[in-house]
Symmetry: C2
Subunit: 739 residues, 2 copies
């Protein structure tokens, strides 16, 4: 299916809310809240942990990456399940580039020889680990390449690591680098290596970060054994995600495509992930300076930087195929507001079997859908339309979700109330990130879901964890006083990204976890056998996730007045603004200090002369920025959101108009920057983006923050104005409500 | 020699200082300062790096622990050197208990068997490593014992580690514990194990702390190889050091001795140090819970706590011999104040060859003595008496120095102006600790000694290092603004302890280091071959140490007005007082918080239920203490020391009396507590002691601080008064000067 017409026609209903503010559920009248609670009870009764376990077992029974027969089978199975639950369902197909390995060779050629295994072995304790049709260990979007060069160890391969290499007098130009996984999204490592002139990049899982340092290794324990490899994408998704050949538009069959060589998010160098078994002989052979203490990993020898005779041969070639990308889209039309959509999604493609990533999330989503289907049969219908999406191709580049959002941009911006994402799930604590206006609603839901292990609400357990984890008495006291959990700001790494950052649709990302640590991520060992031992043995957290997201979806679907509270957005953006001012001040002070230290030869005098560590390069002074436009816009936002709150409170006694609801849920689009972020215009949100050098990790007020961090003073000042303009657009927009 | 009469008769000279404050050396008139600088130039010219290298090579050429033929030969060689330099010299002999191994056996008996090597192998790259007469790897003062029991891994074996084991539900009662070296003095580990009911204690060097994590291992690099073992004392020296059979008195031949079983500083359980080669099979065999992340070391597997089937057999027996302890005491009688002694010392005994520890310090001391001897020949004499001491038996328990100080207590308290200690030396930065009144003098000296590698003063380089090492911008700015280095407070671990903490004699401990990291400490690999590669290849830091301590000694010897500045003591004790008030407040707040957390079940709710971690035990609330007596005493001290400073400044224009000088150098004795510290009365200093649970690490205002830390509230209040009394004694004493 492609270029399909979306299900629902546009109609407008002004609906009545009475006394909503005094009910126990925001956005509902007292009476309606009682009804909603009874619906939630019914919803809960239809959820079944064993069923979730069976779904995980079935859908992870074979490898099912995008473009594979297994992937098609999983999409079909999900389609059939939705259908059997009574949902309208279709498969939206796109046609996307997806590279798979043709040749993979890594050999050390000097001072000794070693041929890397590049293979995770089958284990008798893991039933699916020996299956055919597994994708080999590789990084998708590596360039084709055949290079032989000296090897340099670059720690985590981040910009600051290259600053240190500069101080050590080591260049990676013309070399192959070997970097540890961790401390950033993996795609940053080859990107930064390429920026520094490296010819190739090897990424390995060090046992200090992902292996025996954390506990017993698989299959005895959950952690990465010596042969485990983390597959994964190395597309430069901070530039844009989705099909690299169709930026900004859906990858329909007839879409206009650019040449692969024109795609700004594709690497020019080959990249390969390896196990610590394969890394050990290479690292052990390295000569040159001993690595700085903080760079040392968990292998049993002194880590060196290289620069001696150690030479490796890296040869990689890929099938650069266009493959079908099957998004399963299921819906239940709303009874009152069919053109207001509650969109909920989880991807279905995996690198291999993916019992945890993504099937544990899909299983919860299907359980929600089944329960809702059961409720349908009893005559209930949601007031707004529910749209449940199982995305394909998330792993390589958020392919399915991005192409779908690009393809349906205008319709989504008009109709999508919220996008609720999950991407796997396990035992532990509620984690939720997303648009701050939704924070109160999420907290209300979290207070009603019971933690399977402790019997308290998942909100209470989450707050207890925050208190226990706080590291100072003061921080613990503050955490203990908290009654609400905060929504984390969203960067990237899952399918919420196109909704939030390209389309400006309020988004949430929700999961349980924290007691599921292990080394299975993107490995053949992310299997049902692993999941049922180490992730969520009773599958009760699958039920908890279904309860949590189900309530969020059902409350959004049925609320008289949509529970959006922009005062929470003001609080966050005010904090981000203050952070930026502090960041600039701190950088100004530390730069001035460093200039002084260089003038006084402090680095030279303090250095061990036997180690030949150069002083850092001098940096330009940090100017004072005019933050006033942003500060004024944020101050204005406080007034606007306070007034809005008063209006909404009053309106509970009167009719809440659907125009108001539409205004509330479409408000976040005001924050989209017309031109997007500098050098990556796909990212349009003025407040949230994945970091250009963090990958998944969020940068708030990213235009300003990254300009300051990257010492681009002119751009920083310009971005302050653009962010202020975006917030003022929101101010003016929200002002309409009380005008 | 024993019960010797000390060299020098008492005489009193009132000597004239003119305008001392305006010269460039504190305590000297301008003219005298010029003369002193010329003497220092002469002193420097006689120092020779190659000679220091030769001394290190010669004196470390054979094993020379206390009681050995090699030890006697080294003492004789030092004696002869002093003699040849023109010093009066004698050997003061004591008779001390010193255990050496008779039986050493460590075997794992279940689940598999392993017999520990307990042997550091000879290396062809290390000429002395294969010699006979090496002391085997052992911990002196281990009890005899033959125990077989289950094995428990206790991290560093400190009280907080046992708190965590309690939370894990693990008891060491009736077990043998295995602890990592580090994070405290080694003797704390078996002491705490014994307090918790363990039957035996194994201490090993983990490669994360002392091995390949730091760099290449010996002999390729300097760091501990898999077979290296740290010998060392595990006497409970925080109770009292020296011969355990003769507490408080010199261990002369006829001294009254207690029974070994009565000695409060001897362990009841066997203790053995092992290499990481020997530790690996034991640790790998451990079952039970995975160790907390922070406990994990550098061996390539997941560390477990134990509690399963792993069983070890530890059998140790010792020769409990009384051996001669040879202190070499050399002197040059002062021309004007022969009964005022500048005492300088460094021990000569080693665990094995001890090129670094202690011979590099002895070599610098002998080079000072030779240079001074050369000056004597040209007609110069010091005004005060120089007493240079090479101590025996420091390694097992500060035996030589402690017995000497106990034996000569009254005379030393009358005559000793200062005790200046060193204990090895290497490439790097000046480190100096000691009595704060000497801080200004040490800084003046440090400003005149040139760093061999950078050509700036050792003071400037040291301050540059402090600035570079500061971790925040604010800390770096503060460090950059500093013009003076601070003297660290002295705990224990070398021969200054009896002088400072038993006798109240102003003390200094001075060394260079910080660019000499390695794994040779108390190993057979602390050899000349190691030293010349990794410690101070040019021996120029030996010259720098000789220059530094030589200047300190010569300035103290020749000053008209002794350069003691008690304002610096006030500053430090004021800071310690504020630290204690903060400590009590912080503990009160954190205890109240923890009580709240327990009441709210925060630990239980936040814990991973699969890990069965119990909440911590409830703690009693921290009361408010009356710090007023101490605060008043310290406030008074500020006035007293300010007035004293005015008196001393004025006196520079008049005659400085020798009575004044005596008053100045004997002042620190006012700080001695008549009864000493609780449960360890040997330690008499109210301001400085080694920590009861740190061993070497200092505790300032120890009576108060440890009572608070150990939650003994009654004792804390009592100790506040005793410390205040001590400071008030000093106030009244110093008041005499300006009365």
């Amino acid at each position: 299916m492609k270029n399909h017409v979306l299900f629902l026609c546009c109609c407008f209903v002004v609906h009545t809310a009475s006394n909503a503010q005094s009910t126990t559920i925001s956005g509902f009248s007292n009476a309606d809240a009682q009804a909603q609670l009874s619906i939630e009870k019914q919803f809960d009764q239809n959820l079944n942990a064993a069923n979730i376990g069976n779904t995980i077992k079935q859908l992870s029974s074979h490898p099912h990456h995008i473009g594979s027969a297994g992937g098609k089978a999983v999409a079909d199975s999900i389609y059939n399940r939705f259908k059997s639950y009574g949902w309208e369902v279709r498969i939206d197909t796109y046609h996307v580039l997806f590279p798979t390995p043709k040749t993979r060779l890594l050999q050390m050629t000097a001072p000794t020889t070693y041929k890397a295994l590049l293979k995770e072995p089958a284990l008798k304790e893991d039933a699916t680990s020996g299956q055919q049709d597994q994708l080999p260990t590789y990084n998708a979007w590596s360039a084709d390449g055949d290079v032989t060069a000296g090897l340099i160890f670059v720690n985590y391969g981040l910009p600051e690591d290259y600053d240190m290499l500069d101080r050590m007098g080591v260049s990676v130009k013309g070399k192959i680098v070997i970097a540890k996984y961790g401390h950033s999204w993996r795609g940053i490592k080859p990107k930064v290596a390429q920026e520094h002139g490296a010819l190739g990049c090897i990424i390995y899982s060090d046992p200090a970060d992902d292996g025996y340092f954390a506990g017993d290794v698989y299959p005895k324990g959950a952690f990465k054994n010596e042969y485990g490899v983390q597959r994964g994408s190395v597309m430069d998704m901070p530039v844009y995600p989705g099909d690299p050949l169709t930026p900004n538009v859906g990858a329909t069959a007839n879409a206009q495509r650019i040449e692969r060589s024109e795609a700004a998010n594709l690497l020019k160098i080959p990249v390969l992930p390896i196990s610590y078994h394969d890394a050990q002989p290479l690292l052990k052979a390295l000569e040159g300076p001993v690595a700085p203490a903080a760079w040392h990993g968990g292998l049993p020898f002194a880590y060196h930087i290289g620069g001696g005779t150690t030479q490796v041969h890296l040869k990689l070639a890929f099938n650069w195929d266009i493959v079908p990308c099957y998004n399963v889209i299921a819906a239940i039309k709303g009874s009152q507001y069919p053109d207001e959509w509650i969109v909920r999604g989880n991807h279905h493609d995996a690198w291999v079997n993916g019992a945890n990533d993504p099937i544990s999330g899909i299983a919860a989503m299907l359980e929600e859908a089944k329960s809702i289907g059961d409720m349908l049969k009893s005559g209930w219908r949601p007031k707004r339309t529910l749209v449940y999406c199982a995305w394909d191709g998330e792993e390589p580049a958020l392919l399915g979700s991005t192409e779908w959002v690009e393809d349906h941009l205008k319709e989504l911006q008009q109709k999508a109330v919220v996008y609720i994402n999950s991407d796997g799930n396990a035992r532990g604590f509620l984690n939720a990130g997303g648009s701050p206006a939704l924070q109160q609603m999420v907290n209300e839901v979290a207070a009603t879901v019971t933690d399977p292990q402790t019997g308290v609400s998942v909100l209470k357990r989450r707050l207890a964890k925050e208190t226990a984890d706080a590291t100072t008495t003061k921080a613990k006291e503050e955490a203990l006083a908290k009654k609400e959990m905060e929504l984390g700001a969203l960067g990237s790494g899952s399918d919420f990204s196109p909704f939030l950052q390209f389309a400006g649709i309020p988004s949430l990302n929700i999961e349980y976890g924290g007691e599921d640590a292990g080394g299975d991520y993107h490995s053949i060992y992310d299997s049902y056998d692993n999941y049922r031992r180490f992730k969520d043995p009773s599958f009760q957290y699958g039920v908890a996730l279904a309860q949590t997201i189900g309530r969020v979806a059902l409350r959004q679907a049925d609320a008289q007045q949509l529970p959006f509270y922009y005062q929470d957005f003001y609080k966050d953006v005010n904090e981000y603004t203050n952070q930026l001012i502090t960041l600039a001040n701190d950088m100004r002070e530390s730069t001035a200090l460093e200039t002084e230290l260089l003038k006084d030869s402090i680095y030279t005098l303090a250095a061990d002369t036997a180690k030949h560590l150069l002083p850092p390069q001098p940096k330009t002074a940090v100017p004072y920025f005019d933050f006033a436009p942003l500060q004024n816009a944020v101050a204005h936002l406080q007034k606007t959101t306070d007034s809005l709150h008063q209006v909404l409170v009053k309106m509970n006694d009167a009719n809440t108009s659907d125009v108001l609801n539409k205004t509330l849920y479409q408000a976040e689009q005001q924050l989209l920057l017309p031109e997007g972020l500098p050098r990556r215009g796909w990212y349009k949100h003025a407040v949230y983006a994945p970091g250009f050098y963090t990958g998944y990790g969020v940068k708030t007020l990213p235009g300003i923050r990254e300009a300051v961090e990257q010492r681009n003073w002119t751009e920083a000042q310009a971005q302050i104005q653009l962010a202020a303009d975006a917030i003022d657009r929101l101010n003016n927009y929200l002002q309409q409500i009380h005008d």
